[in-house]
Symmetry: D3
Subunit: 239 residues, 6 copies
Amino acid sequence: MKIYVILPILKSVFFEEATKKEYDAAARQGTEIFVKSIRKGPESIESEYDAEMAAPWVLEEVVNAEKQGYDAAITACMCDTALYGARQIATIPIIGPCQASLAIASTISDRFSIVTIGPEGQKGGVALLEKNVKKYGFESKLVSVRSIDVAVLEIEKRREEVIEALASESRKAMEEGADTIILGCTGMIGMAEGLEKKLGIPVIDPTVASLKLAEILVDMKLTQSKIYYPKPARKRIEI
Amino acid sequence: MKIYVILPILKSVFFEEATKKEYDAAARQGTEIFVKSIRKGPESIESEYDAEMAAPWVLEEVVNAEKQGYDAAITACMCDTALYGARQIATIPIIGPCQASLAIASTISDRFSIVTIGPEGQKGGVALLEKNVKKYGFESKLVSVRSIDVAVLEIEKRREEVIEALASESRKAMEEGADTIILGCTGMIGMAEGLEKKLGIPVIDPTVASLKLAEILVDMKLTQSKIYYPKPARKRIEI
Amino acid sequence: MKIYVILPILKSVFFEEATKKEYDAAARQGTEIFVKSIRKGPESIESEYDAEMAAPWVLEEVVNAEKQGYDAAITACMCDTALYGARQIATIPIIGPCQASLAIASTISDRFSIVTIGPEGQKGGVALLEKNVKKYGFESKLVSVRSIDVAVLEIEKRREEVIEALASESRKAMEEGADTIILGCTGMIGMAEGLEKKLGIPVIDPTVASLKLAEILVDMKLTQSKIYYPKPARKRIEI
Amino acid sequence: MKIYVILPILKSVFFEEATKKEYDAAARQGTEIFVKSIRKGPESIESEYDAEMAAPWVLEEVVNAEKQGYDAAITACMCDTALYGARQIATIPIIGPCQASLAIASTISDRFSIVTIGPEGQKGGVALLEKNVKKYGFESKLVSVRSIDVAVLEIEKRREEVIEALASESRKAMEEGADTIILGCTGMIGMAEGLEKKLGIPVIDPTVASLKLAEILVDMKLTQSKIYYPKPARKRIEI
Amino acid sequence: MKIYVILPILKSVFFEEATKKEYDAAARQGTEIFVKSIRKGPESIESEYDAEMAAPWVLEEVVNAEKQGYDAAITACMCDTALYGARQIATIPIIGPCQASLAIASTISDRFSIVTIGPEGQKGGVALLEKNVKKYGFESKLVSVRSIDVAVLEIEKRREEVIEALASESRKAMEEGADTIILGCTGMIGMAEGLEKKLGIPVIDPTVASLKLAEILVDMKLTQSKIYYPKPARKRIEI
Amino acid sequence: MKIYVILPILKSVFFEEATKKEYDAAARQGTEIFVKSIRKGPESIESEYDAEMAAPWVLEEVVNAEKQGYDAAITACMCDTALYGARQIATIPIIGPCQASLAIASTISDRFSIVTIGPEGQKGGVALLEKNVKKYGFESKLVSVRSIDVAVLEIEKRREEVIEALASESRKAMEEGADTIILGCTGMIGMAEGLEKKLGIPVIDPTVASLKLAEILVDMKLTQSKIYYPKPARKRIEI
């Protein structure tokens, strides 16, 4: 099967390659991954503003994914930007890493926390994730959304520090009652396994979660219903 | 006070004038209205897809509103597109007609319905409004979202028919238990009063609701908190 | 427009004048305020018991308000005593400061706290406000109800101390996640602005909120529906 | 044990005797019933307005009940008027028939309906009961509140007709999914058993429920906690 | 009336006698108690696993209870194991101590905590009770479920220590806002009264709660409706 | 990977073979299926009673699954019997078809219905599924649980009739607003695809859903956290 991964940020060779590599590593045999950045939009997403600024070009890529015969598309960011609009214009399943992580987490845990990034005084990412959790109906299982003081574009440079900070915030979440952690940013590439060892509880990587859900939706030939995600009426749109 | 009304659709002289006229009629003495269409985006909004396609240019106008010294900005569509991102980049209050209508309705009623438009087989508008109601936390007071079989761009041409259809759907909502009706589209200009007379129960016009809320937020010097709507980090964004 | 403000306590020249002054200060041009204490009842309201002891005479004043041609009536206490009964007997809108504050807060914030008064060991006010928040359906946005150790009748005498205590409790609420504060007692006259400066986040004054909501409901010709607030059947009642 | 039953209406020999008789019939050996109407207030309760007009004199009787050494007090009306204030001033348990019926119903059923009275166009009673159900936290188990077209003061005169109408509305509730019926008015004296036979499902009589709950709270020496129902501060109150 | 108490553990003379003694002490005049352990299953219940391992033999005793003409049956464990299945096969009321305690608590308190047992690292009992609270719909009134570090079979041996630990955890619950405590294990025989004195707030003993509820359901001739608890179809079952 | 499928009913060659065949058909390359009936218990599951009667022997097989080195275990019935206990004793992931179907459905739909079996007057299966939906936290997305008048053991014999009845009930669910259908019985083998064609909306087969979820949990090395699913204390248990 062929999965189209939309990276909802301006083209960055580093992020495209790292994302491709991580999806390839998680793909089962026979799953082909194509990663595509968006034509316009922000260089990273850390707030609702950034997510909304990316929306039209994510939708543009959704159209490309379907035209080119892909079996499913993933919007590779925990913001799940433009998810509902994407489901309206597409007949292939559209997967958001946040929703995928929450749905999978709900099958092993009743009390999970999300640990995300967010530079000091920037709780926009926390607010965005809290709203997503409520939008998808998992608020009764959410213990907390916590964040570490790092910007998305610095995650890779400050890798060791990030892992340490994630462990520290995760332990605070465990004291609050969480028994499972969801990584709150798809930029935390390859960190889940090490964190799981440090903590001794399950850690969910949203990148992997989005791909695994995509694979089984394709297996099951399931996609969003056209009753509540009807194709939008044709009209003049300029972007 | 000066209110900046963002019409989140491609420029249409008719809609700009009609919107200006309706806001002027509802404005109290001393309130100046400026209506501005967006530079790019869709010609009308009837689905989540359309709303998301308008987002960056709505946010662009929010920046303009604040720079030009306006006291508040309104995104003139029941989709409340880009509302949270707008609140992050602005320090002036940003008002969405859907949220404004729901908050005001909640002070006079515990059981309201929304009646919106939606061409046959196009329940995208209904789904969008149901999601907005849940997002704003009013689902326990919502009796139903119902729709009439008309496209936004035809409302004006089929005015009598629209009013008749609104009355008919509103009566069905009343049978379901609704005691108050919220018009589900800001394009239903000047229809609330007539409908109220036909039905004998309160009818809320989202255009008027958004302006009235804007006026009192300015009066009260209230605006979104910068804790949960922090200014996004500066970064490269192309639109 | 003419607004009838019912002070649901035994006549006190000090409170009548202070209340009148605060409403006048908040009124827009053309809004006339009439403040009336109740004929019988308690000298202050700090518990559900006090609020219930005031109910019949609040309702008596609601009748007076409507008979005398007022456009709206406000029950000037965060307990919103007799609000639903008042809406049944009146055709003019009846506004409760608690509900008004919550509805307005919900348009700028998803996480607010209320800070109220309550002498040591007297959490009756906290319980009352928690119940009101649930009754109006805003519990998912409430972070906490906190209280300071002062009785209503001492607020004015211990003004500086009250403001300091409010700031202190508000900061605890902010640590819990609140980004907006609602003053929990209409007796905290003229304290919102100073507190807002100390805290750096929005502070909502319930007196002002109730008046602003009253003004726009009158503007919009909105009032409670007679379906769910039907006029009570006539019967013998002695008070 | 001695139970003080407060009939929250103006003295009526008929209602006092009928209420006494019904409570006596339901009392277990050793339970003594004293029924007392209120000194002022309405002659019947069919709306939130009526209930609020009765509040101070219900509270007056609560004080009498405790002073005279009763073990518990019941406010004999499905409105549960002044329940929370009563719990604040008393140390003996205060029972509301509505809350008692709901709590007992919840132990045998997950889907119950309430069938109450309400003259044509008078849905005030329905609204009041819906609010009570939500206040006590049982909304997820409530299928519906339905009403029959009769005024409280006519129940006795039109007894056969009332029973027939109750059966008819109960059957509609059963079609909606209800498997248990709660009688919505304490004036429906002695009707539960006959209705149960007609319907073949459990029917809960609020009078009996309130007494049975009172008896076991006294047995268990349980009463409202003084933490959330603290004794109100002493102050001047005139009624 | 005759109540059949099913002790859902392997026969233990100590527990049978202690349970019989406690139920006898709580029984009103005329209530006869019969205590019966199950034929197979676990020697104590401290987790969902233990509770599920007891289910068939609890159901076996439910059949015996009904055949032998008992008026009601109680499953004497806070796990309420097999409660819904028991209600399907029986026409007499089946009472679970957890549901009984919660329903009674809800009539005197809006903020209660449960304090249960659970050896270190064994939060299975806490999880089980949290799920029960949600299943019965009382989660909005639950402040917390806390546990002390003791196994069920050691309660009796370490009696003083248990009471001290219960008091300590209850005080933490009170700091969290609880105004009423529910004992989380039916093995905490005879501890409620002493604890109540130490804490100064109501403490509910689930054993007593289950019996008192059983007595009044029998008084009221109430039992689960056969609509939602229909008799299971006959079929081959081997245990 | 190796998946252990526990058929929670007495051995039936027909059901074992049919179940094996359906799981094999849904398995991806490399997934081996082992189907095992339980040693004791009921011959079919149509009620909470039946499900509880199967619990100990399901748990017995869970132990076998882990001992024999299987990667995951599935309890092949929509009742998800003994799911939480199974998660306590196992370190491999335990999957319930009901929870799996709901979690997957939630990623493509906000409004789904379940259509299950249930002989006339036997709504025990409906009640069981409604409780499961609530237990897993998906009640806000559930439109309805509907049932057809067939017993589990007759499904295969009356195959055409069953499919027709499923289509008919599903269409009623669609009229209520459902946009996706979940089959409510794992005995409805191989019916999803045909039904999907008749209805034109997604239909989820719980057998396939359980296997697909099992496969990705194993891929992701995810399993229930030992914090909230701690290993039960060792004790004497007889079955």
